[in-house]
């Protein structure tokens, strides 16, 4: 299985939201919906505050519970990678995958009745390009690549920097990494 990962540097992210806009434009996401979003987490008591910006989306887990619990096989892994896609022709709109995601990343109900979600822009990945959000980031804080290739930028960053993933204890093995 090719394991694609996104590595996002929370130290250089300024929370501008360009990744959100790029995604909407690239994927023609219907009005009012988003496949990615920015979380701004401020911790501490004034004046000792720290703020972390996180560009969040589907974690394209290696062990995705949304795929396991989908009753029709509409939720599936793309071409033996960890990229989780939904086949609209198989989706009944039962919403099991929405409930199954511990990151609440699949709350995107397409107006036509099927589940819509981040695709890691697999149509661009296929052409050797980065996902739209990554390529539009003005501070270059987002990186995309294969974890199977030890020389890839994402592998190198994870080797040399401290990082975290969100709620690793869910057992889903998420593949969006945050440098801290």
């Amino acid at each position: 299985m090719t394991r694609y990962a996104m590595v996002i540097d929370t130290r250089t992210c300024i929370g501008c939201g360009d990744c959100v806009v790029a995604c909407k434009t690239e994927n023609k996401v219907p009005e009012g919906l988003n496949r990615d979003w920015i979380v701004e987490a401020t911790k501490g008591t004034y004046p000792h505050l720290t703020t972390e910006f996180r560009s969040e989306r589907c974690n394209h887990c290696s062990n995705p519970t949304c795929v396991t619990l989908c009753p029709t096989g509409a939720s599936h892994l793309w071409k033996k990678t960890n990229i989780v896609l939904v086949d609209a022709d198989k989706c009944t709109g039962c919403k099991a995958c929405i409930a199954a995601c511990p990151y609440d990343a699949r709350l995107v109900m397409h107006p036509d009745g099927y589940i819509d979600k981040c695709t890691f822009c697999h149509h661009r990945v296929e052409q050797g390009l980065d996902p739209a959000c990554v390529s539009s980031c003005p501070t270059r804080c987002m990186h995309f690549g294969s974890l199977d290739d030890p020389g890839s930028q994402v592998s190198q960053l994870l080797k040399t920097r401290q990082y975290k993933v969100l709620n690793p204890e869910t057992g889903n093995e998420p593949n969006v990494y945050y440098l801290i």
Binding site: G32, L33, N34, W37, I38, V39, E40, A41, T42, E56, T65, T68, L69, C70, P71, T72, G73, A74, A88, D89, K90, C91, T92, G93, C94, K95, A96, I98, A99, A100, C101, P102, Y103, D104, L107, V108, M109, D112, G113, Y114, L166, N167, E169, T170, G171
Partner: protein, 329 residues
Amino acid sequence: MVTARANDLIDPSLHIWTWEVAMYLFLGGLTAGIMVFAAIMALRRDDDATPFSSTQLALLAPIVLSLGMTTLFLDLEHKLYVFRFYTAFQIASPMSWGAWILLLIYPVSILQILSTIRRGYPVATPYVDRWSMTSALVNWCEKHRRQIALVAIPSAMALGIYTGILLSAFSARPFWNSGVLGPLFLVSGLSTAAALVALISSKKSEKELFTRIDLAIIMAEIALVGLFVVNLATGSAQQIEALGSIMGGTYTVVFWVLFVGFGLIIPLLFEMLEMRGMLKSLAMVAPVLVLLGGYTLRQVMLDAGQESSWTNYPTQYNAELLDRLETRN
């Protein structure tokens, strides 16, 4: 303070399933109970003592189940693609198991009905005997009534328990993530079916028998509710936090007063008093409360479960902090 996705279409507190699903879970459980009792009574071979449950009850199963499946269908967002449930079998998805179990239940239930249709519904006899094929089929079912009952019991149990396993399989929803949920929903389904017989049957001794059966099942259900609470209370941080929604949180009153109080304890007391010959004129109250309690259980579980989450942005976000900032500026 965490400012999150600030868009209620992306990040509301999860509320994807509403009354349609709760109603289906309730009616599915009730169907399972109906089939189990009809089968047990068929095995007892004492149709005269329990005329309703032995010969007429089975007819309700496909009717109740069809109502439930209708509400379930109403919940689907991509309705034209409903057939997709039957173009795949996903072994790890309880929902897929459920779709196929439902398909199995119908023929079993119809055979169960046919095995007692002449006795239970004499008015239907001339129609059944009009064609040689249906007549032969009913003859076959009557002859194999015992075998049909033996198939109906495990099929119905599968239906009753899967509705709970369906929810408990969502590891992302800590409130549901308890193995007790399957048995709890199954027992609740049996209890509501026993209450239904006690409510509808016109024979006094049959009503009393099912009141006694219901009494025992309610006690088992109370024990399972206790185990469920203990299970979450001794679980992970997420489960302990999720339990808060019925321990002082939003669903405390619905869970403890409406479900446990009016749905279990009060009918239990009424039934105990009835067993001692008291409150005979109020015999309707307990079964009606049990049925309402059965629905309340599904609804409160569904609501509280959906709100429980790993991420919990809404609970971390405190709008008051923002207000304070604005006034200072």
